[in-house]
C-alpha cells in the first residue's frame, strides 16, 4: 500500500512537478524510470488495482450485458475506464471514484456476503438495479452526485465508443454517402443515433 501511494504521488499531478523535491540525481533516475515505463507501454500513473479492475469489469458487464451482440465486458470497457482513471481524472476525482467502488463492494458484502465481482449474475443485476435507482433518484439539494453515476457514464461511453460497440452494436456507417431526411424506422440496432 505504501509503495502504491509513493508511486501515485510520483505519477499524479504531473510527474515533473512531483520530481522537484528529489535531489537532481534522484530526479534523473526517477525520470529515467518514467521513460522506461512509457517505453514498455505502461502508464506513468498507477491505474486501478486488479481487484478494482475486476469489479469494474463485472459492473460494466451487468450494465451492458452480452445479448445477441457482445457486451461491455467483451468490449474490455474496464481497460478504457482504467485509462481515464489514471490519465484523465484529477486526484480528487480518482479518490471519489475509488471510494465509490469500495462502497459497492461493502454493500455486496453486507447483502450477499461476497464481492461484486464474485456475485452470481442475477444477484449482481439485483444489487446494481437498486444502486442505479438510488443514484438517479432525486438528490438532496447541494449534495455531490452519487459516484455510481460517473461509473455508469463511463461504462456506457466506453462501450458505445469501443470497436465492438461501434461496429457490432451500433453498426456505425462512417461514410454514409447520403443524407436521408425522413426515413421510415427500421428495427435495426443503432437507430438514428450517431456517435458524433
Amino acid at each position: 500500500m505504501k509503495r502504491r501511494q509513493a508511486l501515485r504521488v510520483l505519477g499524479s499531478s504531473a510527474a515533473a512537478a512531483a520530481l522537484l523535491p528529489f535531489a537532481p540525481s534522484d530526479a534523473f533516475a526517477a525520470g529515467r524510470a518514467i521513460h522506461d515505463r512509457l517505453q514498455r507501454g505502461e502508464r506513468v500513473v498507477d491505474g486501478l488495482t486488479d481487484a478494482q479492475l475486476a469489479l469494474v469489469a463485472a459492473v460494466a458487464g451487468t450494465i451492458i450485458p452480452a445479448t445477441d451482440t457482445p457486451g461491455a465486458r467483451e468490449a474490455r470497457v474496464h481497460e478504457w475506464i482504467n485509462v481515464v482513471y489514471a490519465d484523465w481524472m484529477s486526484d480528487s476525482e480518482r479518490s471519489v471514484f475509488s471510494a465509490g467502488l469500495e462502497s459497492l463492494d461493502e454493500m455486496s458484502q453486507r447483502e450477499h456476503g461476497t464481492t461484486v465481482a464474485q456475485l452470481a449474475e442475477p444477484d449482481r443485476l439485483a444489487l446494481l438495479t437498486s444502486v442505479d435507482a438510488m443514484a438517479f433518484a432525486p438528490q438532496p439539494y447541494g449534495a455531490p452526485p452519487p459516484a455510481f453515476r460517473r461509473l455508469k457514464q463511463l461504462v456506457i461511453h466506453g462501450y458505445y465508443t469501443s470497436e465492438i460497440g461501434q461496429r457490432e452494436e451500433l453498426k456505425v456507417v462512417i461514410i454514409p454517402g447520403r443524407y436521408d431526411s425522413c426515413r421510415q424506422m427500421q428495427p435495426a440496432p443503432g437507430g438514428g443515433g450517431s456517435d458524433r
Binding site: 451487468t62 450485458p65 443524407y179 431526411s181 458524433r196
Partner: protein, 560 residues
C-alpha cells in the same frame, strides 16, 4: 528595400488564400507568409477515425488541454481530433482585464481557421451596410450591396455554396447548389410557423460552403459529419483545398510556413509599405521580404497586433493609425439566447447520414419596423435531431433492457440558437500589452471587449422569441435559456481597422487600402465597420477578391 515579390500576403486562411488566388491569377509573383506549419491532409485529417482509435475517445486529453490549450479548449472543435488545428496558449498569450474575459480562438497552420470554420455563408444586404448611417453607431460603410454583390457572385461560384433561395431583400440569395434537406421534424416546425407572425419566421436549411454536387474538381459531401476534423474529399471550402491550389497552379505562388510576421516595414520617403519583417518560427531568425503591395490577412486581432507593433517615427501609435481607430471597435456576434422543445408524432421517422449543417432562421427584428428596446437584430441557427445512445448515461436503467432501449433513437428535439449583431464601440479595443510577449518576443495583445446594453437585450430577446415560436409551433417541454458566452467565443471577431469614408474616422478606404499607406490592404475581419448578424467569412472573401482586383488595377496604372 528591394522588392523580392510583387505582393506579400500575410496569412494563409480564408482571406489570405483568396488574396493569393486573385493576385497570382492577375500575374503577380506572390509570397504568402503563414505563422504556423504546413499540414498534410492525408495524415492530419481525421474525420473518418473512429473513437476507439483515440485514447480518450472524445473526452479530450484533459491534462494537455489544461496545460497547453486552456483558452482554445472553450471551442467545441478543439478536441482530441482537431486540437492540433488550434494554437498553443502558452506560446500565444494575451491579457484581459479581470472583469472582461475574452476567448481568443486561433489556428496557426497553412489553411488557418479555414480548416475548422463553421462553413455558414450568408450575404449581407443594404439593411446591414446602411445600419451605421441609420442609427448613428460607428461610421458609415463606404460601400453598399451593389458594390459587393458581383464579388459575392465571384467567390460563391468558385467555392460552391449549397442553400435554398428565399427571395428576401435583407438576406440576398446567392449562386446556390441544391440545399441539403430539412428533416421531417424541421419541416413540421417550418410549416407550423409559416402562417404565424405575419410570415416573418422562416425556417430554411443552413447555407453552407459544402458541396452537394461535384464542383470545380472537388467532390460532393459524403455526410460523414465532423467537418472540423478536415475533409479529404475537399467537400467544404478551405483555403488549402480550394484557393491555395488555384494560386499554386499559376506558378507565381511562394508559400512560406513557419513565418511569424512581427511588423510591416514602412518607408517614410515613399510613404509606402516596403515589406515585412518575419521571425522564423523554428529558428527564431529575423528575415525581411520586400514587395510592391502588402495584403494583411492575419485575422482581425492578429492584423491589428501586427499594425500596432509596426511603430516608426511617422507612425508612433502603429502603422496606418493616424485616425487613432486602429485596434478599436472590436465586435463579435453575441450568441447563445435560444430555446429547445420536443416534437411529437414522428416516432416512426428517423434520419440516416450526418448532415453537416442545421437550420437557419433569417433576421426578423428591425427589418421593417423598429423595436423600442434595441437596434439591429439576430438570426438563429438550429435544427432537429433524435438523441442516440448518449442519453443512456443520464438516466435510470441497466442491463439487457437498457441495451435494447438504446437501439432505438430517443425523442425528437428541435432547438433555435441565436447569433446577434454587436455594435461598434470605440472602448471595445485591443492594444499592445506593455509586458507580455509571445514565444517569438512579439508584444502580446491586451484585449478589453465587453458586451454592452444592446447586445444583452438582443440575447434576452432571442431567448424569449425562440420560446414563443416553439410554443406557437406546438412543441413540448419548451425550455428557453441565455448562455453567458464571453466575447470571442463566437470566433467572429472583427472591426479593428475599419473601412470608412474618410481618413479621420477610419483606417481603410472603400477598397480596403489603408488611408495612410496606399499599398497596404487589410481584408480580413479587421476591415468591418459593423458586424450585422450573419456569419462573416463570405463577406471577408468577397471584400478580399474585390480589393485584390483594385490593387492590381492601380499597379497596372502605375499608381502603386
Amino acid at each position: 528595400m528591394r522588392a523580392d515579390y510583387d505582393a506579400i500576403v500575410i496569412g494563409s486562411g480564408i482571406t489570405g488564400g483568396w488574396a493569393a488566388k486573385e493576385l497570382t491569377e492577375r500575374g503577380l509573383r506572390t509570397l504568402v507568409l503563414e505563422a504556423g506549419g504546413p499540414i498534410d491532409p492525408l495524415k492530419d485529417y481525421v474525420e473518418h477515425v473512429p473513437p476507439y482509435e483515440r485514447k480518450f475517445r472524445g473526452y479530450g486529453d484533459r491534462k494537455a488541454l489544461e496545460r497547453d490549450q486552456f483558452v482554445q479548449r472553450a471551442c467545441y472543435a478543439c478536441d482530441e481530433y482537431s486540437g492540433k488545428f488550434f494554437v498553443n496558449d502558452r506560446e500565444n498569450p494575451y491579457t484581459t482585464p479581470d472583469d472582461a474575459p475574452f476567448d481568443w480562438i486561433r489556428g496557426r497552420q497553412v489553411g488557418g481557421r479555414s480548416i475548422t470554420w463553421g462553413r455558414q455563408v450568408y450575404r449581407w444586404s443594404d439593411l446591414d451596410f446602411e445600419a451605421n448611417l441609420r442609427d448613428g453607431h460607428g461610421v458609415d460603410w463606404p460601400i453598399r450591396y451593389a458594390d459587393i454583390a458581383p464579388w459575392y457572385d465571384h467567390v460563391e461560384s468558385f467555392i460552391g455554396i449549397s442553400g435554398e433561395a428565399l427571395g428576401l431583400d435583407h438576406l440576398p440569395d446567392g449562386r446556390f447548389l441544391p440545399g441539403m434537406a430539412l428533416n421531417c421534424a424541421e419541416e413540421r416546425v417550418r410549416d407550423r410557423l409559416a402562417p404565424l407572425f405575419d410570415g416573418s419566421r422562416i425556417v430554411t436549411i443552413g447555407r453552407v460552403a459544402i458541396l452537394t454536387q461535384n464542383h470545380n474538381g472537388r467532390a460532393a459531401c459524403h455526410y460523414c459529419g465532423p467537418c472540423e476534423r478536415g475533409c479529404i474529399t475537399r467537400s467544404y471550402f478551405s483555403s488549402i483545398g480550394s484557393t491555395l491550389p488555384a494560386a499554386e497552379a499559376t506558378g507565381r505562388l511562394t508559400l512560406r510556413p513557419w513565418s511569424v510576421v512581427s511588423e510591416i516595414i514602412h518607408d517614410p520617403s515613399s510613404g509606402r509599405a516596403s515589406g515585412v519583417r518575419v521571425i522564423d518560427a523554428q529558428s527564431h531568425e529575423t528575415i525581411e521580404f520586400g514587395a510592391r503591395v502588402v495584403f494583411l490577412c492575419a485575422s482581425a486581432l492578429e492584423s491589428a497586433r501586427i499594425l500596432l507593433n509596426s511603430r516608426s517615427a511617422a507612425f508612433p501609435a502603429g502603422l496606418a493609425n493616424s485616425s487613432g481607430e486602429l485596434g478599436r471597435n472590436v465586435m463579435d456576434h453575441c450568441m447563445g439566447g435560444g430555446a429547445n422543445g420536443s416534437v411529437d408524432g414522428l416516432d416512426d421517422r428517423t434520419t440516416f447520414g450526418n448532415r453537416p449543417t442545421g437550420t437557419y432562421m433569417p433576421r426578423f427584428r428591425n427589418v421593417t419596423d423598429q423595436h423600442p428596446d434595441f437596434v439591429r437584430g439576430y438570426a438563429y441557427q438550429g435544427g432537429a435531431n433524435r438523441s442516440g445512445w448518449q442519453r443512456g448515461q443520464w438516466g435510470r436503467g441497466i442491463g439487457a433492457e437498457l441495451k435494447e432501449r438504446l437501439r432505438s433513437p430517443g425523442p425528437w428535439n428541435f432547438g433555435l440558437y441565436g447569433f446577434g449583431e454587436c455594435l461598434p464601440h470605440p472602448e471595445n479595443r485591443v492594444s499592445l500589452d506593455p509586458d507580455r510577449k509571445d514565444a517569438w518576443g512579439i508584444p502580446a495583445l491586451h484585449i478589453d471587449v465587453r458586451w454592452r446594453d444592446n447586445e444583452r437585450k438582443l440575447l434576452e430577446d432571442m431567448s424569449v422569441q425562440a420560446a414563443e415560436m416553439l410554443e406557437a409551433a406546438g412543441l413540448g417541454n419548451v425550455s428557453p435559456y441565455v448562455n453567458d458566452n464571453p466575447p470571442g467565443l463566437t470566433i467572429h471577431e472583427m472591426g479593428t481597422a475599419r473601412m470608412g469614408r474618410d481618413a479621420k474616422t477610419s483606417v481603410l478606404d472603400a477598397h480596403n487600402a489603408a488611408w495612410d499607406v496606399p499599398n497596404l490592404y487589410v481584408t480580413d475581419g479587421a476591415c468591418m465597420a459593423s458586424s450585422a448578424c450573419q456569419n462573416p467569412s463570405i463577406t471577408y472573401m468577397a471584400l478580399t477578391a474585390r480589393a485584390a482586383a483594385h490593387a492590381v488595377e492601380r499597379m497596372n496604372r502605375r499608381e502603386l
